[in-house]
């Protein structure tokens, strides 16, 4: 639609002020019958008549603007016509020349509302019908709602365009009472769209009597800050029209503004679904609050509406309650004052009886559009309307829920976060989902389900979510886990989760089962790490050639035993060490050697050392065993093994030893890193444990407090 300054085929270029431009474009859209440039002649005629100009003036205007020639009203013609009307109303002669100058906006009877629209005189008290007045407040209220819902409505309703066939004919309806008019207003305005409102009023007035046309006109004029929403408006307009036509189909409830029509009910249900996919579940208070705040009603009014609609006062809305609340909001926006008591037709019991399952086709349509949008919601695009932001907020609200509701459930969560990159966990999460799905399905709650819907982004119907959960890509794994975690209320699933989750972290404790001795533990873990599969107190592989070690050991031992003779020992050491250097194979052995070397080097009391070393190294049993015969041999070979001073023994020993010592140091380092890792893992688990304990304590305290309150609140028989 061309919103620029109107170009007139007959009169050259005319300039429009910004206000005029806006107003004219609004009027243009309202008169637009279809997507073509032509305007519905009937609408234009009505508009002109509303300007309260004499008929011949109107004819003149039509002639001048070029529509007569063309046979239809295009954009340019329409703008010119409007300007001519303005001129005529201000008393200027209807000439093309007159419109060249700045002109006040054309006045259409019945205009009012809004600072911008103040130009339009208020003819409310005129002959126009009472419905006229009813139209007024909605305009003031409806105006600010443009931006809020335009985006929201566009996506969901964009696909509902229907050709806007000439509305007047099918929409004729007899009732003239104000309630009937307002009733027509109400169902139509539930789109929260100004343009929609205006269209609806347009059509509504079309079908009602002429006096209501001013109603139409005022609606037409009001959306002057149309802006770029024209296309959206168009689609919404068509949709609204179709809706309105359908609404008018049910002709039995005209007299009761508090009665919800099928159309409205379906719409409310659709909205409910967008907030909460499970129709039999509840919408929590905060979600509903965000949603209803978008209606731009004042907080006290919304508070009152909530009071009326939440009959069970549980802070959440069931579907009938939600419909009632929505309906009240719609009514309020249309100018009805809120009742003091919930009308009977809005009672949940009443609404529940009336419950009709939403049409599947529309469901499909809405869900389709919804699913398109939800991925964007998942990506947290702020460009989308606040409705999606409400959904976006759900993940954040989930976190405290996790802490509060399911303290044991947080254990898998935290363990999961610790090991989130752990590959086996992804496998575990999928089997976890099954028990979770079951528990979730059976025990629905509003808190769980919104997050449920939220995280299962690609699959809107609830039934698909199990499938969705089993197919999540790894990046959703965490969400899946958190979601399923939240559901794990049943103890069995928690236990399963805990067991499954705990499997990865358990390796550290395993060695403990096998060994109670602290010093040997390190060796044990090293052995196990190296061999990857050791269970229990494994002795080092018998493949360790014990001989060199044994040779070394007796050497050391005999050294310590016979400190006097040094030189021969040194030589012997040399000799022995050479053997060692050739035969060094096993890291453990080297480590033992290293330890022995250290032990020997550290002190000269070898016998206690020997005893310490040997008992401290049970894994070296075969070595020891071999050591003994070796030592015996060695002893026999060399009766005296002077114990070289530690320095001397270590000095000659250092040369042949470096390779051995390197290995032993490497081994030491390996052990140390293993120790460190284990310590870290221990620390992490200990921290986890303490945190969980803390949470458990807190939850327990909360529980006690709540129980106490509950007791207090229970009626006390007191006399």
């Amino acid at each position: 639609m061309d919103q620029g300054p109107g170009t007139v085929s007959g009169g050259g270029f005319i300039s429009l002020s910004e206000n005029e431009q806006r107003c004219y474009s609004d009027l243009y859209t309202l008169c637009q019958a279809d997507s073509s440039e032509k305007l519905a002649a009937s609408k234009v005629r009505e508009l002109f008549r509303a300007s309260q100009l004499p008929a011949d003036t109107l004819h003149q205007v039509t002639e001048l603007c070029g529509a007569k020639r063309l046979g239809y009203f295009g954009t340019g013609q329409f703008y010119v016509a409007l300007k001519l009307l303005a001129a005529a109303q201000s008393g200027f002669p209807v000439r093309l020349e007159s419109i060249k100058s700045e002109m006040p906006l054309p006045r259409f009877v019945g205009m009012k509302n809004d600072a911008e629209v103040l130009r339009y005189p208020n003819h409310s008290q005129n002959t126009e019908s009472q419905g006229h007045q009813l139209g007024k407040p909605p305009m003031t209220i409806a105006r600010p709602s443009l931006d809020r819902n335009s985006l929201k409505r566009t996506e969901s309703l964009g696909d509902k365009q229907e050709p806007r066939s000439p509305p007047p004919s099918p929409l004729r309806s007899p009732p003239n009472s104000p309630s009937s008019l307002s009733y027509q207003d109400k169902p139509l305005s539930y789109c929260y769209r100004k343009q929609w409102n205006s269209t609806e009023h347009l059509t509504a007035s079309c079908e009602s009597k002429h006096p209501s046309r001013p109603l139409l006109q005022q609606q037409v004029s009001s959306p002057s800050n149309y802006g770029s929403k024209s296309s959206l408006a168009h689609s919404s307009v068509t949709q609204a029209l179709s809706v309105e036509r359908r609404a008018e189909g049910s002709a039995d409830n005209h007299d009761d503004p508090w009665r919800i029509t099928e159309e409205q009910r379906d719409y409310y249900t659709m909205q409910f679904k967008s907030l909460q996919p499970d129709l039999s579940s509840l919408i929590s208070g905060s979600v509903a609050k965000n949603f209803f705040t978008k209606s731009k009603l004042s907080i006290p009014e919304l508070s009152h509406i909530w009071e009326l609609s939440d009959v069970d006062c549980d802070g959440a809305l069931t579907l009938p309650e939600f419909c009632a609340a929505f309906h009240l909001i719609v009514a309020r926006k249309n100018g009805y004052s809120l009742p003091e008591k919930l009308p009977q037709t809005l009672q949940p019991a009443f609404l529940q009886i009336d419950a009709v399952s939403p049409k599947t086709k529309r469901d499909g349509v809405f869900l389709g559009s919804y699913s398109e949008l939800v991925p964007s919601c998942q990506e947290r695009e702020p460009a989308h309307s606040e409705q999606w932001e409400a959904i976006n907020e759900l993940p954040t609200t989930r976190e405290p829920l996790i802490v509060f509701e399911d303290e044991s459930g947080t254990a898998p969560q935290e363990i999961n976060t610790v090991e989130s990159t752990h590959p086996p966990l992804s496998d575990k999460s999928t089997p976890k989902q099954e028990p979770r799905i079951d528990s979730c399905m059976s025990a629905f709650s509003p808190k769980r389900n919104p997050s449920f819907k939220d995280t299962s982004a690609e699959h809107t119907p609830l039934e698909n979510t199990p499938a969705a959960k089993t197919d999540p890509p790894p990046e959703l794994e965490h969400q899946v886990k958190s979601r399923t975690r939240q559901r794990s209320y049943s103890s069995t699933s928690i236990d399963d989760a805990m067991k499954k989750v705990e499997e990865p972290p358990t390796p550290p404790p395993r060695p403990q089962k096998t060994h109670s001795r602290a010093s040997s533990l390190d060796l044990n873990t090293i052995f196990q790490q190296s061999s990857q599969g050791f269970k229990g107190g494994w002795l080092p592989p018998p493949a360790l050639p014990p001989r060199p070690l044994a040779a070394q050991i007796p050497h050391f031992v005999s050294n310590t035993e016979t400190p006097s003779q040094q030189k021969p020992v040194r030589k012997l050491n040399f000799a022995d060490f050479s053997k060692f250097s050739e035969e060094e194979e096993n890291a453990a052995k080297n480590e033992v050697q290293g330890q022995l070397g250290k032990a020997a080097g550290s002190s000269e009391e070898s016998s206690p050392l020997k005893k310490d070393i040997l008992p401290a190294q049970p894994p070296l049993k075969p070595i020891r065993r071999k050591y003994r015969p070796e030592s015996q041999n060695l002893d026999s070979q060399e009766p005296t093994l002077p114990l070289p001073p530690p320095s001397s023994s270590s000095a000659p020993g250092t040369k042949p030893h470096p390779p051995l010592q390197k290995q032993s140091s490497r081994q030491k380092r390996a052990i140390q890193t293993a120790i460190r890792k284990n310590k870290e893992a221990n620390a992490v688990l200990a921290r986890l444990n303490s945190e969980l304990q803390q949470q458990f304590k807190e939850a327990h305290l909360d529980r006690i407090a709540l129980e106490a309150q509950l007791d207090q609140l229970r009626p006390v028989s007191y006399l």
Binding site: K289, S303, W306, C313, A708, Q709, L713
Partner: protein
Amino acid sequence: MAVCIAVIAKENYPLYIRSIPTENELKFHYTVHTSLDVVEEKISAVGKALVDQRELYLGLLYPTEDYKVYGYVTNSKVKFVIVVDSSNTALRDNEIRSMFRKLHNSYTDVMCNPFYNPGDPIQSKAFDNMVSAMMVQVC
């Protein structure tokens, strides 16, 4: 039955206060304010560890020649104060308790409303109606 009913927030400012003889409202405001001291005294009498076992109904806070003041405190330290005319001797303790219970229930209903921010003055019509029902009987 009640002459004045007040709901005091945890921070000791009134969330809701209404009295029947509207011309002398200030007097009732003052009475309620002074009764807060008594309330504080009563709730601090019980040790911190026994907070759960503390009775919510505080009973008669203090009598004057004209009226009696009853108190009730919730676990979230929201206080209800009812001022009753002394001449109304037919009022029994359990009736006062039931009034407080009704007040408490209505208050929780107000809290359930997501549009109500804790700490705001209570503007709920349902709450007003309930309070009026309790006060109207004074005549």
